[in-house]
Amino acid sequence: MSEPILEMRGVEKRFGGVRAIDEFSLKVEPGMVYGLIGPNGAGKTTIFNTITGIYHVDAGKILFQGKDITKVEPHQAARLGIARTFQNIRLFGNLSVKSNVEISCNMNAGYHLGDALLRTPRYRRVTKETEERAMEFLKIVGLADKGEERASSLPYGHQRKLEIARAMATNPKLLLLDEPAAGMNADESLELVEFIRELKERFQITILMIEHHMDVVTSLCDACTVLNFGKTLAAGTVEEIKKNPEVIAAYLGGDE
């Protein structure tokens, strides 16, 4: 087995008296789609926030490709190759759909302030490349024809896709998706599953995903962890987990 791309060791995060994550450990192998599920308020989003540096943990360690990223800032996390989407969509609402993606592409754009101010040939070339790259991502998510629209005027489902495109444009190795299928109907969820699979194949990325739609989790995830009160309730393949009585009692409920 190869080295895990993401590893969390005994991570703890408290908010006042609330232990949002407690002694949490996790290993994600490269190339997998890993699911993170659990009841509301179990601490899933908080885990994402600690990985991406939005919150800093109170105890424990987070390793990314063997490197300690416990104390990184959000933009550093992005530069290391961790991209994410947000549970409450956070687009650059007043900017065009295309700019949203371009801004992410820019992370790796190779020109300097001097180039920009003087519009050197390098600036022109890189800008053109960036634009093309952005369009490519828009094509992948099927928003190519909406490039000039304001991001906030897109319907909810499209906004989700745009957020994914934007995250992908940073060229990540690990993609964190926070409830990508929220607000989608069954059909759309299926489409999303296909889309995420395609992304994974095409860009060779690892995906860590929070999701409440069990059919999405079932069809995508190679393995998953169930979280409850900040602690691991169960971990394993989706099939195993679905049969786990504790998980059923705490999370799935009767009929699914």
């Binding site: 909810y156 409830e179 109907n185 069954a186 059909d187």
Partner: protein, 237 residues
């Protein structure tokens, strides 16, 4: 026959140049649960925005309890129609308790309010635990619970919910359906938008199916569930 509570006739609405609703007509009878289903961008939320007085519509009419819908959102609430809006819309600087208090801002029956507090806390024990936390610091799902609970606190005649199951754990979604059933049995009429068509149809008395700003069909929940071509065409199931 039950009495008609809400009637929407030939409603159309637009955002700038984009038409989001074309000539929509529907009605809700007292005591019913009516679901509105449809894909992303079909215009469901826009419909509820019109009904809650938040969005001005272009044409058509809305009558509630025989009277035309007033123009200000708070007047709509005074009439007894309350919405649980899309995207939770929690008062993030208010505590959970205060959020709920705002929910019942038009009520004056102290005892009733106290009882309802107990009741929603019983429905969502999570909220009781977080009673004094700022709403904005709740997890996504907890916020959703709070939004629903806040809507219930208003004790409306017609409760409108825009995707109440969004971001909730499956077990909670099931609970919510039960809660809605219960509330309905106590006399509240419900207009529900839900992405999980199967669950919604099981719950509702009648449903409307929307597609890109139009109503394509209507029927009882059972009828629609049984119509597999329809389900596949519009809901992908």
């Amino acid at each position: 026959m039950a009495q008609e509570l809400l009637r929407v006739e030939h409603l159309s609405a637009a955002y700038g140049g984009i038409h989001a609703l074309h000539d929509i007509s529907l009605e809700v009878e007292e005591g019913e649960i009516v679901a509105v289903l449809g894909a992303n961008g079909a215009g469901k939320s826009t419909l509820l925005k019109c009904l809650s007085g938040e969005k001005k519509f272009l044409n058509g009419s809305i009558t509630f309890d025989g009277k035309p819908l007033p123009s200000k959102p708070y007047q709509v609430v005074e009439n007894g129609m309350v919405i649980v809006p899309e995207g939770r819309q929690i008062f993030y600087k208010l505590s959970v308790k205060d959020n709920l208090k705002v929910g019942c801002c038009l009520r004056n029956d102290k005892d009733g309010i106290r009882k309802d507090f107990e009741r929603v806390y019983a429905m969502f024990p999570r909220l009781k635990e977080r009673e004094n936390q700022y709403g904005g610091l709740l997890s996504g799902g907890e916020q959703q619970m709070l939004a629903i609970a806040r809507g219930l606190m208003a004790k409306p005649r017609l409760l409108m919910l825009d995707e109440p199951g969004l971001g909730l754990a499956p077990i909670i979604v099931n609970q919510i359906m039960d809660i809605l059933k219960e509330v309905n049995e106590e006399g509240t009429t419900i207009l529900l938008i839900e992405q999980n068509a199967r669950k919604a149809l099981k719950l509702c008395d009648r449903a409307y199916l929307m597609n890109v700003g139009n109503i394509v069909t209507e029927g009882t929940g059972k009828e629609l569930l049984a119509d597999s071509t329809l389900m596949e065409a519009y809901l992908g199931q």
